[in-house]
Subunit: 338 residues, 2 copies
């Protein structure tokens, strides 16, 4: 920067002012400075900037997935968030340590590296929230905790998704349905989506007069396959599956197939919150009701950045409704033999 100033024949501060726009600079001077920057290929040093300016233009995407992996559906959030951060000239740090390692999170935000944090995989009672509050760092969430909270968030409207999916199945004549939820450990730790899906399913099933069995299932195809076998053995009336488990759902289909059943003629499968990319990978393609993950990710960082740049206002909390894409895995219920 000193070189630039010298070359343009101005002081350091003037160069800084054209960079930040904090004070007016005459058009002529500005041009000279910009030329000098161009010529010297000058790029401002991010650390000096962050140190003095108290703004880093870095946000962290906190996405606990260490070891475990990531659903393609969650990938949509990440991509939406990343793209938008990039277009807003922010850097996106990917932070994958587990929800329970609060000390690590505290250390991360304590470094002062981050302007803000975007939280994913939010639990109903999520301890990270108070860590962030204590650290006094702005944050937004994709997902939301139980109870009211003063914070920005976006989330899938699981109630809506479940309702749409179950009405779809009920409309096709299905009377007995299974909910294949996330893994038991996930449900037990109170992951928002998993808990809300279960509750909504029970509620809607009661309303619609459907028989419902809600079960957790590990996120593997073999678990899904084993599960559907057990379910069908125990309840021959079962004709519909509601799946909130991207990796188990194909297993459910495979398990049915292996039993000699056809999808959707003998068993219908409808997925919840499964991205198109994932739904299109099975054959036949999966009927699914989902929100636009990419847009949710985008809006998540938009809200966060708005907050960072001081356009305060009240907190935004937005539920995205589910839209049904009827593909090849749902059809009229097989008539009961009775």
């Amino acid at each position: 920067m000193a070189d630039v100033a010298r070359k343009a024949g101005v002081s350091l501060s003037t160069v800084s002012y054209v960079l930040t726009g904090a004070r007016p600079v005459s058009a002529e001077t500005r041009a000279r400075i910009e030329a000098a920057m161009e010529e010297l290929r000058y790029t401002p040093n991010a650390f000096a900037r962050g140190l003095r300016g108290r703004r880093s233009k870095i946000i962290a995407l906190v996405f606990p997935s260490r070891g475990r992996g990531i659903d393609i559906s969650s990938l949509g959030y990440i991509l939406g968030a990343s793209d938008h951060a990039q277009s807003m000239d922010y850097h996106l740090l990917l932070w994958t340590t587990e929800t329970q390692s609060l000390a690590a999170l505290r250390a991360l935000v304590g470094q002062g590296l981050l302007d803000g944090v975007l939280l994913m995989e939010v639990r109903l009672d999520d301890p990270r929230i108070s860590v962030l509050n204590d650290a006094d760092i702005p944050f937004a969430m994709i997902g939301h905790p139980g109870g009211a909270i003063e914070a920005d968030w976006v989330d899938t409207d699981f109630d809506d998704c479940v309702r749409v999916a179950m009405e779809h199945l009920a409309g096709l004549g299905h009377r007995s349905i299974a909910l294949v939820n996330q893994a038991a450990t996930v449900v037990e730790t109170g992951l928002g989506g998993a808990v809300r899906t279960r509750e909504a399913a029970e509620r809607v099933a009661a309303e619609l007069g459907l028989e419902l069995e809600a079960v957790a299932c590990d996120s593997t195809a073999t678990a899904g396959s084993a599960l559907i076998n057990g379910l069908l053995d125990a309840n021959p009336r079962l004709t519909g599956v509601l799946a909130f488990n991207e990796q188990a759902a194909p297993g459910v289909m495979a398990g049915a197939l292996a039993r000699g059943l056809r999808v959707p003629d003998d068993l219908s499968v409808v997925a919840i919150a499964m991205s198109d990319q994932a739904a299109l990978m099975s054959a036949p393609a999966m009927t699914a009701v989902s929100a636009d993950e990419r847009e949710m990710g985008r809006l998540g960082v938009e809200l966060l950045i708005k907050r960072l740049e001081g356009e305060a206002g009240p907190h935004t909390q937005k539920l995205f409704e589910g839209v049904l894409k009827s593909r090849g895995t749902s059809g009229p219920a097989r008539p009961q033999r009775n």
Copy 2:
């Protein structure tokens, strides 16, 4: 830090020395300082550190996917890289702008924010390499350019994958095979894997005396479906498909199904470099030959960090061989009617 020093009754430098270990500190003093840090919940400021110390402990994962999305297989690299970076106490910045926006890349590295860069989606003639060389910033690659190069990289051994896959098909009696490659634009821009796969397929087909048709295909299920229809119309002898296109492969299967063909009885499909997670999502699960993406991502950052920390040595360049997982989409070739 000043507070810590005051509380422990030492100077700033001494505190710094316990932090960095650059000079010895007596056990007693160290204990006092550490207690003070603990009590004050002190975390060193990342910017000041980066500014003075010339080490940021931040690396960028450059993964051009803006808008386009990410294959699940590529996700494996990212996760592997992220996990390992985290465990080595590095931060991982996700950078998704396109390969051709060199100015953006130059600006990114010019900021001095990064200790190093991990490059993905490497092209045979990749312009980013010289940008990084010019900027004199350490980097490693997942994938590798054509020709010899002084750099660390890991890559899938596409030659090996193709050979294993084609020998598998040939062994099952298939004589006429189609290669469903990545999208035409991707192949044309010279993405390493796509080009090497095509070349290897041609070479191995010749060796094995197989008939081969190599075609590009957009990364969507519908494109795959349309493609296989055209292919089968043009060549009724076709019984095997080699797919290097995660999203089109299920479309190929769906297209065959819609034509009344069965998989694998009438058409076998073998995927190249498709992650297990993706392969297990189709029904039946896809036969695939792939390398361990997660391990590749891990090794990528390991090599980079080694370089950063000055354990120089010669450059490491490692090809990961393909391992065949025979699942439900490959079987004996249907006998030709002639």
